[in-house]
Amino acid sequence: MTLFQDTGGDPRATAARLADVLAWYGAVGDAACGNPSGFALRKAAVGAALAQSVSPDEQEHPAIAFAGLLHAIGAIGNAAYTKNANPLSERLARIEAWDVPAQGARICATMGMLPAATADVVRWQAECWDGTGFPDQLRWNGIPRSAQCLLLADVYLRAEDPDDALATVYLRSGRSFGPDAARAFTAWFHLNGGNAPAPALPIDALTAAPGDDLTLLDTIADRVDAHNGVPGRWRRIHALADATATIAGIDAAQRAALGLAVRLYGAGELFCAEVEDAQFDPLARMGIDERAKNAGAAAGLLAENATLGHAAEILRARAAWYDGTGKPAGMKHDAIPAGSRILAAAIAFDTLREGRPSLRSGRGAPMQRVDTAAGTQFDPAVVRALATAAKAHA
């Protein structure tokens, strides 16, 4: 089954699709470390705009944009941010977080479609002029100008207002930034009126091959699951949901959307302190708000994403109950997308089968327990199909 439509060999369309997957990766990185929504895209845009003033090497400009986009992907799986029963102390968490750029660089280095300098810009994005940055504590001209662009973009975007950013850059000149870079920022700021440029990615700089997008999506989903403490979850649910969809007679387009949703839904849990199944029984009504919040968050990450956006509807409705008592309120029966109905039942079944021990023990076999919720929480037809699929997979 293919998740995406054929681009007909158009390299630009292939690159645009890959850029959308990268944009989602950036959004997931932001979610993992608690950055506001859309931060990565804005950082990419500001970093690329600043590069015109700060970094003389034009070949590095696309790398700066993609490094801005992927600046936080190292946070996925970083011990400072992972869901852990024994959270680190504040000091240890801060020290662990220093490795986010280096981890991000290692990931970027494996992504052959990115401009060559991207990994190093990600690696050194938090280095400070005076040697107090991280991870490498580089100093002075040992820090590439391109990396200073990203640090400037970060300060600019985190400031309360543009004038505040200007003041902060001046105060940190000679400490976080080289005086030359701070001066270049000031020039850019005044020429630009202090306005952030519109987000746009230099997709022509990507060397995309057919299939890269799906491979990347699978890799991200694996990393998100590992971060959430549920390694391999999306793969189990994917096998189950796809078999259920086949048995239930769902058409190919909806199956493709479901396949995407299975890969993307775990990202919604990055916003909460603990992974969903650690907090409540998937069949209990008491967890419904949390599930709906996570579902909405996962859908929110796809805002304005042309390639992945069609999975948002399935993601948003996966906390709806078949009888209409779930969330979003009022959604019931066939008004709930078929993909959402299948995804909800598959997640619940997998959680009862593979989740924490207290959920797995007692109160009957997982399929029996899902079956008791048929007609209320789950679509009875989907539950029947799921039972058949689960039996085939057992």
Binding site: R94, P135, D136, G142
Partner: protein
Amino acid sequence: MIELPERTRRVSPSRLLELLQRYDCHSLVDPFMGLPTHLNYLKRHGISVHGGDLLEWFVRVGEGIVVNDQTILRDSEVAEIVEMLPGRIYSVDMFKAWEGVFFTEEQCVYLGVWHDNVRNLRSDGQTGLAILGLWRAFCYWLQKTQNPDDMQDIQPSELAWSYIRETECVVGTNLRRNTVRRGDVLATLAAQRADALFLAPPARNSFRSADARIWMWEAWWQGNPYFTIEHAYRDSLLGARASEIPAYSRALSNILSQADDYRTIIVQTTQNRLGDFESLVRNARPHVEIVAPHPYEIYLIATK
């Protein structure tokens, strides 16, 4: 006006860690360590590190961030370093020779006060942390002499206080023995055994282009504003005189032959100097891999 170089040697410990992990190395010796922040990074990631250098202040900082596993400087202790303490007699004229040339009168007085206060610290770890923090304040001043309008005026004690407090974050343990020593490359090689040897050899006659921020801080630590590193660098940096091209090559070959016990040798160089090193390394070891992520950052990895 002081000249600050337009290029700074880049040692990326996160990249070095990736290389060490690829070659399954768990301990490392760096006989040209310089400021050992890269060893601190490797230590934090579980590598047992051993460094050496000829300049004493590098070694002192190493005692603070490489050898030291737990001692930090608390607020009250930092306050006693950065300000003149009542009842203590200070040699406030110690750095008067720099006044008007590099620094203001107030800055020279502070340099004398800091020198005396740091010399009075009893813990090696705290001394190293204080030297590192104060050096950063000193670098800020030198940078400001070049960019007076682009950088903020910060009260000396406040600047030093903030930098010393930041050093607290880099103190930690890897539950392994880590050392630093003051000595030339051959002495360091003979004193330690490790899985990997990291060499980032200075260029021939590099004392001529040594960064003022480095040698002036050694002068500060020695309490002698007229101190020069030229003698030390010219005669003993590579364990032998190496001011001529053949002598430099001979000295490097000697270092490589002395490093026969090391399973892996990582030589960091640049595109421009690759030719100087490649043949020497290939003569010393049968297997040499070149990793070149950047023209300023090229690694020759030699194994047996």
